[in-house]
Symmetry: C2
Subunit: 425 residues, 2 copies
């Protein structure tokens, strides 16, 4: 990333310039090692490299320009925040920084030590003044998807005012009513923030943009069933990660172009790894940029990753909002219904996820699954045990990994992953 | 406990007799060391000793006799399950075993290692066949108060069918609607189980019995403001613990008798410790029978405990159900409202608890507060940091303790508590 070009902007956003420079340097090196070292990458990967290299640069500049033109920016940490509504008000919907060890010591002044790395990261990024997305946001949205985040937002709210949506914990009719009322409350809040009235026409457009993005990602997911694997898991993950940061219309067009290229590759039976390479699916907690640790370990262990069953993966793209609604209230119902289909581990019971994981692993012709839980993430740690049981019944081997963002356990992870991959070869 | 007398009953309940004998022996010794060794105990403590010694014996016999007469037994792990409704259907409402390390290794087959001791305990008690209350229950009620329990009930349900109530995570009108619908659903479920129709008259009676119990506990709490402290913290906790196991009408009468005795003591300026003994309030996670570890450490360190701000303490007794309602629906509203006042850390925000803790500490003339979090309990660990801030502002020193049920850290806890108590002397 050309740090010097964007310095004035970062300074205006009150980032800690020195620490931010150091962060970008580490990330640049990390990206070079993990991404640029790959063979047989797609031509379309140029888009990924560009977006990533400018994620704190040109993309922030673009957002600042939009703000200067009166558009608002809404930042969130979760796939439950209805992007359709944000887009309907012509606001910008972005994910916030949460994927690297940054400001961890500061974060531990606000949240307990036994908190997952993702939560400590978003608090650390804010406290250490390292996230230009947080600093560009006009509204930050939290949710109640886990105890860790729910309580962390109370502390976070002291340093960055946070609007919290209540996500219910079951899928009962009463829980769905609660969620619909939360969707409506969010819509009102976005109207207040932007000064716009969200009409049926505008919401229809928002729904279409969000669905188009999901359709492009679904197309990508489906193409990854091919053998040999036409794209690396690292690039697959990166596309899903970028979906939270780039402009959705540009992103959709670029991903569709990339899928065209993938189709050519598949026709030519070309891939990123030989046909007999063990194919693994990742499942579990989200991997936010630049948390590429596990994919790097896995694909350095002689396997290829063919899918990500996570919030930064299929959990965010699998379900579409029904586009047939014409009135505003029917559209809100359609949005509420779509989000209630999310198979987040915050729900009890959450049997759908067991089916979804098994079906996806089969559809992607995965030889095995690696279940990934962030240390101290209770919902996904619990489900890891259930997923292991159903995959065992389906004859699909699973390895359960629990880790954080530190690099201390990389060698140990390598040993475990290599041993697992050997059993599949 | 006279083990031999109750053996046939335990065998019928399919307890693991040998392991259960061993458990009772350990608990008997533990109780002797912690309780019977105390000086200046109340006469009314005979009731406590008797109930505790027969908690797996005569009380279970009484419950079995009631079952033989057609009454049903409902077991739960949380103060959110509306006892009023259970009582209205003439059913028996009991707390389930969750206060000792039992069957931990078995439990770790069902729930992650990083789960709090209370959750591992209830699963362990069931798997190791050690809890006669679980085995006597016709219905077991879970709730969604924390990620750990919410997901553990899914696993627990496989070995002990569990009906789960959704407790909302905020106190918004929509969340209150959800909770009211859950209260109604519970009422229907209890009617189905018992074959009884819950009329307004029956529910009024249930409300009165539950409120009378709370009033007796409130009276006890208020009397503990006296100096010198008229009752030990261990006995205060034990009374709160027994409130979940004994018959509520008998319990209320006995606690009121005990309060009469306390009043005499207070008039005579008698107490369990000299007037200058540092007075501490406990705050945080519940301490289920026989989790007396921290009170034992504290009262062995030259301090006296004057109150318990926890679910097995004031969180369970502070709020009454409004008794003025006459129709069934109004009563259900009154019940829903009462439970929505609970300041459980499951709510966000939960500012009431900050006020309640500060006010209670002042009311009880506490010199300091010990905040107690079970290891891996995220909601209370988070709030411990906020409580520390507000107590500091109020000039009340606080010590934060995070621990589990093992005895390994007792010496370390003693050192920390003694150091804290010294600063208060």
């Amino acid at each position: 990333m050309e740090a010097t070009t964007h310095r004035a902007m970062w300074e205006k956003l009150d980032l800690d310039l020195e620490a931010h420079d150091a962060l970008l340097e580490v990330l640049g090196k990390f990206y070079g090692d993990i991404y640029l070292s790959q063979n047989n990458r797609l031509q379309g990967a140029e888009y990924l490299d560009f977006v990533l290299s400018e994620v704190h640069g040109l993309r922030i500049q673009e957002i600042q320009d939009a703000k200067a033109n009166g558009r608002k920016v809404i930042g969130s940490f979760c796939v439950f925040v209805p992007e359709e509504i944000t887009l309907a008000a012509d606001a910008i919907h972005v994910g916030l920084c949460a994927g690297a060890d940054a400001g961890t010591e500061l974060a531990e002044q606000l949240v307990p030590r036994n908190t997952c790395a993702l939560i400590k990261s978003f608090i650390g990024f804010k406290m250490a003044k390292l996230c230009p997305f947080i600093e560009s946001s006009d509204m930050i949205i939290g949710e109640t998807t886990c105890d860790g985040k729910k309580k962390a937002y109370e502390a976070f709210n002291e340093i960055a005012p946070t609007y919290v949506m209540e996500v219910p914990q079951t899928k009962s009719p009463a829980a769905r009513d609660l969620w619909k009322s939360e969707v409506k409350r969010y819509l009102s809040e976005v109207e207040s923030l932007t000064g716009q009235t969200i009409t049926a026409e505008k919401l229809k457009k928002g729904i279409r943009i969000a669905n188009d993005k999901r359709r492009a990602l679904q197309r990508l997911t489906a193409l990854r069933a091919a053998s040999p694997a036409p794209i690396s898991g690292r690039d697959g993950l990166l596309i899903n990660q970028i979906s939270f940061y780039d402009d959705p219309i540009r992103f959709t067009a670029k991903v569709n172009e990339l899928c065209d290229e993938l189709e050519e590759r598949i026709s030519a039976k070309e891939g990123v790894a030989p046909t007999n390479t063990p194919r693994l699916m990742l499942s579990g907690c989200p991997m936010a940029v630049p948390n590429w640790k596990l994919p790097y370990v896995v694909e350095g262990s002689g396997a290829v990753i063919v899918g990500e069953e996570s919030c930064i993966g299929t959990r965010n793209s699998r379900d579409l909002v029904d586009e047939s609604a014409e009135t505003l209230d029917d559209m809100i119902d359609a949005i509420a219904d779509r989000y209630m289909k999310i198979d987040c581990a915050c729900f009890t019971p959450n049997e759908e996820r067991l089916d979804n994981v098994t079906n996806l692993a089969k559809k992607l012709n995965a030889d095995g699954v690696i279940h990934y839980s962030l240390l101290f993430c209770q919902p996904y740690s619990h489900e890891s045990m259930k997923i292991n049981n159903v995959l065992q019944e389906a004859g699909i081997p699973m390895l359960s990994i629990e880790t954080d963002y530190s690099m201390e356990d990389v060698e140990q992870l390598k040993t475990r992953v290599e041993a697992f991959v050997e059993t599949l070869a």
